[in-house]
Assembly symmetry: C2
Homo-oligomer: 330 residues x 2
């Protein structure tokens, strides 16, 4: 691809990303900088580098609120930089460090992975808003997000996870240039082919002001949640997260969220390893400890093929029916 | 793309990469592991992480031989890891540390960027062979490379730099798993679309046992070098690197190398800023100091469009003719 064609493709892609946010009303992009990355994954780490103190003698403190997406900890520890260190949970930090929130970088995952909650910052430091799931098929959109550094990914918008494309929306020019520099030093920039492919996908996605794609995806998620909730309503052994209705500006009505994941809790005191309990029923989830929470919790993914979802629902139904028949698998 | 299709694509792509190396005879891949990366850039840094001591109290020492590709230093310093530090030139290291080469990671760039030399290791530590330019259009292939960790890139094979695809050929299973883990933690893996595109390109490139593509590319480079050498042969003010004939196993004859870059030296003592001298003649190159060498050197790229190459040659011809007419631009 020629340099000029590539540049035009990049400008066009930026335009469609801004258009998508404007249609959905989930993020303010006017007067903000955009940076493309390899999925949101690369941008998470680029953001940590950009917000950490470079020439300080003490590293910046990176934190998140339990339960949190394991990538934050994995990346921050793996790169083992002198610029920052992972300090774990915001809540334990808060009680130990009442005044010193100056050199803090906090991940605010909204909606949260694993539990779908619309999180807000706990500490008073710098923030990285991970908005991977902030789309109308997963959550009502109450108001456009208007924060300093927001990260989105194609993966949870159109489902093209394998394309590895994400973007950051950044207010401050200096931070923008640092994130851009990270991408350049790490990879010499983002694939031009990928940009062209994402442009084609977004052109399709914004058709009909996004109504067709988001209605399809929302209806699918709502259907799954209704069926899932119905199964768990018959159980006292297992519970799932509470969902609270909110006004969605995109659909212009009050709706329940329909998160990508169910956050399952084993309620019986002796069943502290919930993953093992579910696995005995042939149900695979991710253990709570992966999210720095207790293993009494398990994350079940609801974003899978219809066949796989039907299988999951069938096995959950069986597990819950055993509970009421008195014959249990563990 | 379904998981199974993606996996089949990956297996098929590995097969074609091995086939390409086998046809060209530039690397031993039997019994070796392959890892895909975002261009060679990402793999360079992944390799540094993989070869550095993780739990050591002192960081590993990363070195290269001047003149060297600036990315090695830029990446190693940027990530600022506690696992390693950039120690610069192998030659100054050698004189200061005669015995301790144990915890050394040396970049061996062969052919070298900027000067095209087929480098060999200087120190006795671990090595990362950067073989980006080890293809028959740039250098005679004397023997298949048979080293622990070798890195290649599509960019300098078919020219598709914008696709951002490279691969590492790795002997040791533990090192392989560390490089793979880096890619996974940094980006959650490599784009499936990219893998499919590269597969299509390589299927085309191996047609006719690679003869059509490498003959085309070699003839192009040879033609450029002949014309370039002819211009510099008329100059005493400027010189370019010496080229030595070698037997090429791929073309089965003895040939001169035709490197991607000319490494120009300003010979007059007072012209220590060679970039400025060339720029006065409207010629843009990269200053020697970018490669940790003296600014008496400049790298000129010969891998550009034919139009741009004709322009470069015309301006060089003008500059050299001024030298002989006595009217000079500086």
């Amino acid at each position: 691809m020629h340099t000029m064609t590539a540049l035009l493709c990049q400008i066009e892609l930026e335009k469609y990303i801004r258009k998508m946010h404007s249609i959905v009303g989930n993020a303010v992009t006017e007067g903000r900088y955009l940076v493309f990355g390899i999925g949101s994954s690369q941008l998470l780490n680029a953001a940590v580098y950009a917000l950490s103190s470079e020439n300080s003698s003490t590293p910046s403190n990176v934190l998140a609120s339990i339960p949190f997406y394991p990538m934050y900890k994995a990346q921050t520890m793996f790169f083992n930089s002198e610029n920052f260190q992972f300090e774990g949970d915001t809540n334990s930090w808060q009680s130990n460090n009442s005044t010193n929130n100056m050199d803090v970088v906090e991940f605010v995952t909204s909606p949260n992975n694993p539990d779908g909650e619309l999180k807000t910052p706990v500490l008073g430091g710098k923030t990285i808003y991970d908005h991977a799931y902030f789309w109308p098929h997963f959550t009502p959109i109450p108001v456009p997000s208007d924060h300093d550094l927001m990260i989105f990914t194609l993966s949870k918008l159109t489902g093209h996870a394998g394309t590895r494309f994400g973007w950051a929306v950044i207010k401050d020019k200096d931070v923008y240039q640092k994130v851009l520099n990270y991408i350049s030093v790490a990879d010499l920039g983002i694939s031009k082919d990928t940009q062209l492919r994402v442009l084609k996908l977004l052109k399709k996605a914004v058709e009909g002001d996004g109504k067709p794609i988001f209605e399809f995806a929302y209806n699918k998620m709502r259907d799954r949640w209704e069926r899932l909730s119905s199964v768990f309503s018959k159980s006292t052994r297992f519970s799932i997260q509470q969902r609270h209705p909110l006004h969605c500006n995109f659909f212009n009505e009050t709706r329940l969220p329909s998160p990508a994941y169910a956050w399952v809790k084993c309620e019986r005191e002796e069943e502290s390893d919930c993953g093992a309990v579910l696995e005995a029923g042939n149900i695979k989830g991710r253990a709570g400890s992966k999210f720095s929470a207790k293993d009494r919790y398990v994350r079940l993914s609801l974003i899978k093929s219809q066949d796989d979802f039907e299988m999951l629902l069938q096995k959950l139904t069986e597990l819950v029916s055993l509970e009421n028949s008195g014959v249990e698998t563990m």
